[in-house]
């Protein structure tokens, strides 16, 4: 966290700078099946974030050394487009994108029925086209919808959500200013049907009570976003021409 501390992020009326309530998420829109070359795909806009996910497979896992005899491996690449941030990003992997790719893959491996596809690989490509704090969560949400769109069996979808702390107050879904000048960020990947957590990170400073409230907000947001995910998949397959 930036931890500058002296930047005002809450207005005198108790609302946030963009007018949101403390437990209010930015608007979310989801479209499934937007990339015709992929086996499954989705686009998620979350506030000004734009995340796109494509799924290929299950396919033969190569090189052979990555194969698992009893299950599929999930190969995730999270990548930010060069024009997705204020300062241009040089193309290619960096430490941050590698870490996000790793934990996202592990989260998805916890929900996909990987034992159904021994020795195979499922490729999940997450591309961030515009970043405004919260891209890893938008990416997880997009990946889940893309996997469902590809017809890959899962125990549940994962919803990427985040809460944090600004001006000693717990709030849902930090925007860019709140992320830069706030005190904590708690992104989570939640399974809305089972109530389990498949992805969790945190940085900053939270008391145990603040953590509980932040997770409560996260579960509330996951439920809301899950409905939008389901609607996107229903819209994709309505009419039956796909």
């Amino acid at each position: 966290m930036g931890g500058y501390g002296d930047v005002q992020l809450l207005r005198d009326d108790g609302l946030r700078l963009d007018g949101r309530k403390l437990d209010e998420s930015r608007p979310v829109t989801i479209q499934a099946g937007i990339l015709p070359a992929a086996d499954g795909s989705a686009m998620v806009t979350h506030g000004l974030n734009v995340a796109v996910a494509a799924v290929y497979g299950p396919m033969e896992a190569h090189p052979r050394k990555i194969q698992r005899q009893d299950r599929a491996v999930i190969d995730v690449r999270y990548n930010m487009a060069p024009f997705s941030t204020s300062d241009r990003i040089r193309p290619g992997f960096n430490r941050r994108s590698r870490e996000i790719s790793k934990v996202t893959a592990e989260a998805l491996e916890s929900v996909v029925l990987v034992e159904r596809f021994p020795r195979s690989k499922i490729r999940v490509e997450i591309e961030i086209l515009a970043a405004e704090a919260g891209t890893r969560c938008a990416g997880i949400t997009a990946a889940s919808v893309a996997l469902a769109d590809a017809g890959i069996p899962m125990r549940d979808m994962i919803v990427g959500v985040a809460s944090g702390k600004i001006e000693d107050t717990v709030v849902l879904d930090l925007d860019k200013a709140e992320d830069n000048y706030g005190q904590a960020d708690l992104p989570a990947g939640i399974l809305p049907n089972t109530g389990e957590i498949a992805f969790l990170q945190m940085d900053g400073d939270l008391s145990p009570e603040e953590f509980d409230l932040a997770m409560e907000y996260n579960f509330k947001a996951a439920k809301e976003i899950h409905e939008i995910m389901v609607d996107a998949l229903k819209a994709r397959y309505e009419g039956g021409d796909n």
Partner: protein, 261 residues
Amino acid sequence: MVELVPNLLRQEMARLAEQDARIDGRGQFEGREISLETDCLYNAEGSAKVTMGKTVVYAGVKFEIRTPWPDRPSEGSLMCGAELRPVAHRKYEPGPPSPESIELGRVVDRGIRESGCIDMNSLCIIPGEKVWGVMIDIHVLSDGGNIFDACGLAAIAALRTAVVPAERFDVGDDYTLSVNGTPIMASFTRVGGRYVYDPCEEEELGGDERIHITIGDEGHLHSLQKGLRGVFTPQEFAEIFEVAQTKCAELRKIVAKKEAN
């Protein structure tokens, strides 16, 4: 990944060509439906999304301040790059930029640069000290054939909507980038022995060499590229060049119409 080109597909392409037909029912020089969106990405100073059939491409423009080259103290710079990331197709693999993506970026770059639509002197802030570097990054999200034309269109459309972020760099007020022209690319692939315009994925898989032609507002050529294995005659080129003139004029109108809205 090596694409296996089934002989059956090539035979089918030859059979269709004999009947003056294409695998998706189009005429020889008929393009697919195109949709263009501009100014669609937060954080990019100019942006565009192009959909052509199953092909989806984004382009984004960013600016940076750099020191000019010593021999050209008042000239800024323009760079256009393309990424063919694994998101776009199962045939693309992760790793350093492939020769294909480098070719793609350079062909689009040449068309825009050589058309002279950007006056490099207009990118000067302080001669000998500070100039703007303009970077167009092209991101192919779905390769459904003919990504060259889609990338060329996205790049110029994004550039033409770009706003120079002078305030953010503390060098004055933001202003719209001055772009004097709309260079447009038209691509042809030999399929079943003859050239077709705007090849789809199957036609590229079962076809031969390709030719990319970039044409400016005045009908002049600004970049040419012949790619892949195969040869062609001057007569064949003359025919597709004439088609390219018409196609580029049509696409230029799509860009103009988008800007008028």
